[in-house]
Each structure stands twice: as structure tokens, then as C-alpha cells.
Symmetry: C2
Subunit: 197 residues, 2 copies
Amino acid sequence: MRYDKAHKQKTRERVLDVAARAIRAAGPDRIGVAGVMAEAGLTHGGFYAHFASKDALIADAIEHMFDQARTRLVESAAGKDPARVLAAYVAFYLSKAHRDACESGCPIAALAADLPRLPADARRKFSRGVGHLTDFIAAQLRALGRSDAPALARSTVAELVGALSIARIETDNEQSDAILAASKHALIRRLELETET
Amino acid sequence: MRYDKAHKQKTRERVLDVAARAIRAAGPDRIGVAGVMAEAGLTHGGFYAHFASKDALIADAIEHMFDQARTRLVESAAGKDPARVLAAYVAFYLSKAHRDACESGCPIAALAADLPRLPADARRKFSRGVGHLTDFIAAQLRALGRSDAPALARSTVAELVGALSIARIETDNEQSDAILAASKHALIRRLELETET
DNA sequence: GCTTTGATATGACCAACATCATACTATGAA
DNA sequence: TTCATAGTATGATGTTGGTCATATCAAAGC
């Protein structure tokens, strides 16, 4: 090892960070290898020392996004009351801040429509991420004594993702806010989290 | 008029049909002007006699998708009981057939993530389409005496779109089916359509 | 300080694609 | 039958972007 042991690893991580943001913001087809590398402070040539192809970068970046999101979620939930955790997550997910920060927000809402078009590897990694989120929510619901936890968790994730996606499309700001509010309200009722908000 | 009066109009319609399917199947970035024209039985050169640009084609194709979907929906609902209409729509929307027919299905689920990246014109047309669907569902709910019709309609559309999107991503077929089933069940309960299925 | 080797840069290649100028063709009118 | 023109085809252009061969650079060991 001539270079610092962690040098390449760090660079790779930096590229993945940049790619994860760019992909969520612009979509997998609108980002370029050169652009991502430039934003990471490198030139495009070195790219293939880190990734086998653009598709491989996308797949790895997807994994990276979910890892980050999951870490954040698990950490913020540590030792807290399940009802409070769920209420906070719904409030965050359907917030205007999340709507307006596509590039750092939930990968599912940012990339839902792109996934069916991507290669199997990326899809598998994405699926796994979706599964983890659903499981996390199901675990909270189970802790609250809901017997239908797995199904309710799936339904919850669906409404969260759908509401955020549509809110991001809407050109009229008032309409967009109303969509977020409607689903926030519906979910708080369905999940029986009324005491919190 | 040297040609049949409706000749160009018909060609344009054909191109829009092809484009509407291709865009939903492959996404706005993965389709090419040449490919769409070829599938419509033409060559790429004539394209600019019909559309000002690729962006214009996409915007018009989006309008076209929503028009088609709306016509189908309104016709299939004509003179029917609102509860039956809603139950049938939910069942169709969350069916495996709809999941597996991206290219002819609901534009919202097929393109949700792409829209925020498209030009204003396409976004406006898309927004209008989403609004019409929400209004249609709200009208059925109002006919059923639900006082919270607009908000419930928004929440319903969100869950429909989210569930279908996620079901399409899922690589595991059983998981995918479970997602559809969970939201179908949840919606039938929330909309109080239990008598129908 | 020199060498070795891993990490990154330069530059080129090829394919895909949007766009457009120009040429051709089919059709209805004269 | 011939002509004018709307509609479509051919072919070219410029650009962008993924990929790769090769060159350069940085750092650790002798």
C-alpha cells in the first residue's frame, strides 16, 4: 500500500455521496459519470478504478442512500416510545422540508418510477431498502400491540411514498400542501397516533 | 389541402399513442424521437412537422395519457353506484394486471418520479391530470355522503399511487402481491366499501 | 533520493440522439 | 395529365456521454 490505507475507500465514499444526491435530484439518466466525478473533485478518467460501470455506480449509490437513511432513522428512534417515533416519522416524511429536499430525502419517493427500468442489481438493492423501512415501521406497530402490523406497515409506506411523490409533482403550492396535510391527517388517524403530532 | 383533411391529425395521434406508451414503459429520457417515429411507421425527419421539440412531444403525450385514462374511467362509471365505482377502481388499480402493464396504466404511478425533473409545461399538464382523478374520486365520495371527501380522495390517490409504485419495484413476486393486497384491504376499509370487493 | 506501485488525469473513440436543411412523394386541383 | 404543395424521408451536424488506453502524479520503502 503506497497510499494511505483508507485513501481509495474515502474517495469512493465521496463519489457515492455525490452520486446519491445527484441521482435523487436529477434521476439516473440525467446524471453523467463526468459530472459526478467533477463534483467529487476528480476527473472522469479515474472512475473505472472505483466502479465497473455507470450501472454499478447507480446500484451502489442506491444501497448508500438506503444505508444513510436507515442509520438516521434507527438512531433518531433509539430508546423512544414507538408511538412517538411513528408520529415523528410521518411528520418528517410529509413535511414541506422533505418535499423540497428531494436530493437528500427518501430514495423511494425520489426514484420510484425509475426503478422498474433499472438493471436487476439495482432493483434488488432497492427492494431490500424498501423492505427494511417496512420492517422498521412494522416493528413499531407491533410494539404498540397492532396485530395487523405487517400489512398496516405496507399500507403506511405506500401512502407516505404516494403522497410525497404527488406533492412534489404539483405545481400549485397550495394544492401540494393540501396533499401532504391530507395524508398526514389520515395516517395519524389510521395509526392511532392522535395524542402526538 | 392536398392530403385528406384528417391525414396529419391522424398521424399526430398515432405518434402520440406510441409516445404515451413508450414514455410510461421506458421513461422520458430513455425514449428517442427516432424510435417513437419508427414505431409509428414513420422516419425521424418528419417529426418536427408535428412537434416543436422532444419536450413538446412529452408534454402532449402526458396530456394524451390522462385524456385516455379519464375517458375510460368516466365511461366505465357512467350510471353506476358510487360505491361500486370506487370498489372497482381500487380493485383495478391494485391488480396484478395493472402492475404488469406499466405502459398502458396510470401515468401517475408510471412517471411520478420523473415529473419534478420535466419542464414546466409537462408538469402543468400532469398536475391537471392528477387533479381530475382526485376530483373524480372526491365526487364519488361526496355522493356517498362523506363530508371529508376532498381530503379522503387525496389520501386515497396517494395510497393507490404509492402501493402500485412500490409493487412495481419489488423483485420478489410474493412481496409485490402482498403490497397490493395490503393497500387494497386498507382502502376498502377506509372508504367503507366492504360490501363490494 | 530513487524506485515502485497504486491513484488519478488526459485525451480519444464510438455510439446515441436531438435538430435541421434539403430532397422526395403522394394527392387533389386545374 | 400536369402542377403545386402538404406530408414524409434522407442525410448531415453538433453534442453529449460512457468507456478505455495511456500518461502522470503521489507516497511509502530501500
